[in-house]
């Protein structure tokens, strides 16, 4: 269950991903699926890109206008899911959403994403901390349905 993290560390991780996001880009490649998502409450207005090959997420990226929290959380997500298969990615997303909503979750798969564990304290920002994750989940769910 939730490990006690050092606030300094958490802050550093968020700022690092915000200032130097690893996967904030628009891939110009037809094989990518894209999902646009925005929020009437925050400035957030992003596209999430997914490249899935043989059931494996070979790339994931995002682009657009986004606040600190949404940029960092989405960027961390992209790192977490790249290279994972669809099932595993969905599992990670599920655990993240459980964490955000203060339910028991499996912290072994969340890695840096754990820095958002206190988001509930600023409930109005839950949407920012989950906007990218929601978009990716929809892309994966949609994909999954087609397979059946």
């Amino acid at each position: 269950m939730p490990i006690s993290l050092d606030p300094q560390m958490m802050r550093a991780i968020i700022m690092d991903h915000y200032e130097k996001p690893r996967n904030k880009r628009t891939p110009h490649d037809d094989r990518y699926q894209m999902m646009h998502i925005d929020s009437p409450n925050c400035i957030d207005d992003i596209n999430v890109f997914l490249l899935e090959e043989n059931g494996v997420i070979s790339d994931c990226a995002f682009d657009g206008i986004a606040c600190t929290i949404s940029t960092a959380s989405t960027d961390i997500m992209t790192e977490l899911v790249i290279g994972k298969n669809v099932q595993d990615a969905l599992y990670i997303i599920e655990q993240y959403q459980k964490m955000i909503h203060e339910q028991p979750f499996d912290d072994t798969v969340l890695d840096e994403a754990i820095v958002f564990i206190n988001t509930h304290r600023q409930a109005a920002r839950i949407k920012c901390a989950t906007i990218g994750w929601d978009a990716l989940k929809e892309l994966l769910d949609h994909d999954h349905k087609h397979e059946k």
């Binding site: 925005d38 009437p40 409450n41 925050c42 207005d45 409930a123 109005a124 920002r125």
Partner: protein, 412 residues
């Protein structure tokens, strides 16, 4: 199943607890088709917003504001459960009238053309007639009437006689406000869908009084008002199948329903239900409507229906013994009783009842067209709810018996 005990229930209602009088007499409220009393729970919910939780919705980044969003979301979930819909299919409006205007404008004027037809009946409330007349004006489509049967009731057979490929919308009440017949909407919907028409159901008089399952009825749109189901005024619901809501244009535009727009006039609207909820909502109304819905669900809609039925049977039996009473809807199944006293104008009779502390409604009941059909320019309507008692009925019946001269009300 729980049996309704109106005496216990009255303790939940300030209008009874406060012993409100009328003309110096204990109030007997038999105008529930017009509006209904509110339980303490509704007042409490409204006050919670006014006293402890005031903030605007979906417009801020602080807890107070977020809390309002959460509450509105919960209210939507409660309303969805109440009529077996999905949360995202629940649009908050200011009431039935606005709900119907929204569909008429956002769907009717958008998809109908001059070759199309809208079917209504003569028994509809003005709020389920005039918006369709407007669609007719704007698109050139025809407004035609499904004939009622000899009792003044809409029966599916009569729809079969008039429906055609031209029929695009059928706008009818589940229970009408003058004669109070319960329409077999499920069958109406089935027929409509065979012809590719949609059913816009006016639930103002049905949803408060009986179980409503939109999935079972398969209606395409359903409207109802909070104030007729022990909730606040100024708040109501439009239910729509999600796919249809997506196809429907917004009626009002403004803050809160647009994702963004630019100077060239390109506007992106949010998804339903937000798309239809422009401007600051009736927030305490939403809180109150949730409390009202919870209250009704705790009593059980089937119990409410059964109790009203019992009360109506009791009343009809007694009224039939009075030779001066002309009953217009003896066979109706709802709590609506429409009558006149021989030789007395409806308004005068209502005035007399008022002088006895009894609230009934007279007049043209908004369903003005129907009165051509009834052959009466006006009638008196007594309408029941679950908090009415047999004593209420007794007082009403005996007032009608005693009321020798209605002008007494002027001189008593």
């Amino acid at each position: 199943m729980k049996k309704i005990d109106p005496y216990l229930i009255r303790d939940d209602f300030p209008m009874f607890k406060n012993k409100v009088m009328m003309q110096g007499k204990p109030l007997i409220f038999l105008d529930n088709a017009s509006t209904t009393f509110k339980p303490y729970a509704v007042e409490k919910a409204v006050n919670a917003y006014l006293q402890y939780e005031t903030a605007n919705s979906h417009r801020g980044d602080y807890d107070l504001c977020y809390n309002v969003d959460v509450k509105i979301d919960e209210a939507r979930a409660t309303l969805a459960k109440f009529i077996n819909a999905e949360k995202r299919e629940i649009v908050f409006t200011s009431g039935t009238s606005m709900s119907i205007n929204l569909i008429a404008y956002g769907y009717g004027t958008k998809y109908l053309t001059k070759d199309d037809e809208i079917l209504i009946t003569q028994a509809e409330h003005a709020s389920n007639v005039l918006p369709w007349f407007k669609v007719g004006e704007m698109t050139g489509c025809k407004i035609n009437y499904i004939p009622l049967n000899e009792d003044g009731k809409l029966v599916p057979e009569n729809l079969r006689k008039v429906i055609s490929k031209k029929t695009k919308i059928i706008a009818v009440a589940h229970v009408t406000n003058v004669l109070g017949f319960i329409v077999d909407i499920k069958e109406i919907t089935k027929i409509a869908h065979q012809y590719g028409a949609i059913v816009v159901c006016d639930g103002a008089q049905s949803v408060p009084h009986m179980p409503t399952d939109v999935k079972d009825l398969d209606v395409d749109f359903l409207s109802f008002s909070g104030h007729k189901m022990v909730g606040p005024t100024g708040i109501g619901v439009l239910y729509g199948k999600y796919g249809l809501l997506e196809k429907t244009a917004p009626f009002m535009t403004g803050g809160g329903m647009n994702a963004k727009f630019d100077m060239c006039g390109d506007v992106t609207y949010l998804q339903p239900p937000s798309k239809f909820e422009a401007g600051t909502q009736n927030i305490e109304g939403i809180y109150g409507l949730k409390a009202a819905t919870d209250y009704l669900m705790s009593l059980g809609m089937e119990n409410i229906r059964r109790y009203e039925d019992e009360l109506r049977t009791y009343a009809i039996e007694k009224l039939k013994k009075n030779e001066r009473v002309i009953l217009y809807n003896e066979k109706a199944e709802s709590g609506i009783i429409t009558f006149n006293i021989k030789g007395v104008f409806a308004q005068d009779e209502a005035t007399y009842l008022n002088s006895q502390g009894i609230a009934c409604r007279s007049g043209q009941h908004c369903a003005k067209v129907l009165l051509d059909y009834l052959g009466e320019v006006a009638t008196v309507r007594a309408s029941l709810y679950f908090y009415n008692t047999k004593e209420d009925i007794d007082a009403f019946v005996s007032a009608l018996e005693k009321g020798g001269d209605f002008l007494d009300a002027y001189f008593a």
